[in-house]
Symmetry: C2
Subunit: 447 residues, 2 copies
Amino acid sequence: MDAARLNWLTAAETARLIADGALSSEEHVRACLARIEQTEPTVQAWAHLDPDSALEQARDADQRRMRGAPGGPLHGVAVGVKDIIDVRGLPTEDGTVLHAGRLPRHDATVVSRLRAAGAVILGKTVTTELASYAPGRTRNPHNPEHTPGGSSSGSAAAVAAGQVPVALGSQTNGSIIRPASFCGVYGFKPSFGMVPRGGVLRLSRALDHLGVLARSLADLALVTECIAGYDDDDPDTQPPRARPPLSAVLAQEPPMPPRLALVRTPFWQRLDADARGAFDELAESLGGHAEPVDLPDSAARAIDWHRTIFEADLAASFELEYERGADKLSASLRGQIERGRQVTAVDYQKALARREIVDEGFEELFAGFDAIVTPATLGTAPKGLAATGEPLLATLWTYCGLPATSLPLAHGENGLPLGIQLVGARGDDARLLRTARWLCAALAAPA
Amino acid sequence: MDAARLNWLTAAETARLIADGALSSEEHVRACLARIEQTEPTVQAWAHLDPDSALEQARDADQRRMRGAPGGPLHGVAVGVKDIIDVRGLPTEDGTVLHAGRLPRHDATVVSRLRAAGAVILGKTVTTELASYAPGRTRNPHNPEHTPGGSSSGSAAAVAAGQVPVALGSQTNGSIIRPASFCGVYGFKPSFGMVPRGGVLRLSRALDHLGVLARSLADLALVTECIAGYDDDDPDTQPPRARPPLSAVLAQEPPMPPRLALVRTPFWQRLDADARGAFDELAESLGGHAEPVDLPDSAARAIDWHRTIFEADLAASFELEYERGADKLSASLRGQIERGRQVTAVDYQKALARREIVDEGFEELFAGFDAIVTPATLGTAPKGLAATGEPLLATLWTYCGLPATSLPLAHGENGLPLGIQLVGARGDDARLLRTARWLCAALAAPA
């Protein structure tokens, strides 16, 4: 194996080579660290990196393997963790000076589960301010003058730059789908309640999702499988009979060719020419497998209901930060919090209750379709680092808790990547990933 | 069996006699109907009664038994259902003229489960206005000049008057515990999330509980077992491994004598002399089995947090009623709704979030004690029918979702009944009932 390219292996490939003894975890982690050293001055994806600790975890993994201890599905594989997710012994500063120096004493549930699967926690990736809109310092690896998107900026950029095969992100509005689209990687926001959020900065109990950024669909399935499932600390997770068999279903052929709903969204006029062209081209190449579907009017209004919940929850979650350090918050977050303080409990509950009604509409839609195909972002990553771009096209699916994935299937005229978003029925994450694989294959080799 | 006393049998006794062929369901239901005919002019416990339908269900049950069909645990047993719980074919009018003539097309989940257990739905029992504070027409069977308590007024009175062995009630503040105490019956509000609420008038998703009124602890266990357990339609229920084995645990001796925490509550000064005397007498007779425990200050403040959630939820739940028919609502409910409309989303969420903190305090307490013993009401049923009495002593346990039961163990100087409340650890409903049985036995035969 060419050491200079080890960093580009996927997590699944890396895990297999390590399990076979063809690669050590230490070699793998050294390749990641070397790539970080080379690219980090430009990309700036990492908030906290402790190479010594990462190498120590890697050597531990190698020794355990050599002693014949059974290895987990991520044995020896490096993972990046968004800096709103607690990792014991590493700072978790949430992208704000107000939490500077915060050193968690416990791993978040998902980090414990990654460790139990054998993963090496490489470090903490840059988040926007409190996982909201004000950017961190990360740049887009495809062009450092452009935003990587946010709020999972560092996770998407690190994976795109080949610094780490996979990283955890989170999404309360468009924080996985948008950076995945802008950075040209695979992003996955599983169904609401699929991944437990204990030990993670809370923005909104009703809207927060954890998810994964990766360079392959197989890696999305592999990592999600390791972190998903009921946990006592997250009342929105439900005890499942077993972990969702994402990898196994992903490896299956669909029993019949999927039926796809092409959804231009009520915001089609706001898409730029690149995004519209890419979507129409995709629609054409899907031929009879896809059918245009209009969303009901409530879909556009869901953006307002999402905002009501989001801003009220930001006001409640960051009340202390606002009261003690409003001057250290960005103007945009201050504005959100101040609007959120005005929301009444009745309007808040209405915004929550309407979700059930919108959900029912989607249940009907998914009786006829395997997935919705829809743009992931309004266009490619905007130029400039003062903002992270518009989350609009991810909002509805976040509001409803539907599983969504961004697939790096298109490019703009400027050569920057552009994601295609696939959305599935709530709880049917495995079928969504299987449909995504079918779609990627169909586009690579059109019939 | 003396036909004139059949109506006083418990549900468990009735079910056993029916299963043995010593009693028919029709005889049992006729005995209930006869008792209703005799006492209803005074008690007025029923909102809707359909004797023909009840007798038809009873004859069906008898025929099924004679054909050798396997019978459920309530085979042939009459049950009363509070008039906020949907029963197909019977009006469900929620105690308000605004819902007059409302005829549900589906049974509530708990009613389906009662039918599956073989029960005969005898009729709908009177509720206060929208299960809130404004009284219905029911009177206390022990003295018709006194309130039966509310909001499950008809269920408690019907059971106390020997009109039906068991009835379903609901509690959002003190609506099972208070009428149970005032009417001298056993009342049980299981843990939050134990009994699914599909098809039941919603006051507050966070606070609404369904429960049971009965004339024995065994009946509380028997009926709760039939209606408890996960249901898709209620997101606050959790898939259990199996139904809670309440009856089986109730029948066990505790492995060691229970340790009881005597909680006078922060409201001790508001109790009347009867209630204080009864509680102190109980405390004395429990001797070394019980130990006085002071609640933290947050317990008193929980009353305010409960009110914040309750009023905001009433405002959201009854928005249509308020907008279309405020003049047909009671002044007290209008006041609650109007205060609820002023609650901000931030204060609402804080009131919800503080519950987790109070809960943690109770988890510590229940590490050292099997149950809390505490007064159920400030005294016996107040005179007059214009109000249903003060729910204060039930509020904290409702807010925290802890299982609570009122035991008819005391009386006031006026001869009216007075309940003793036992509260258990959340989710440990079986232990609570077993402890209650121990307590009743210990008081009947002091060592």
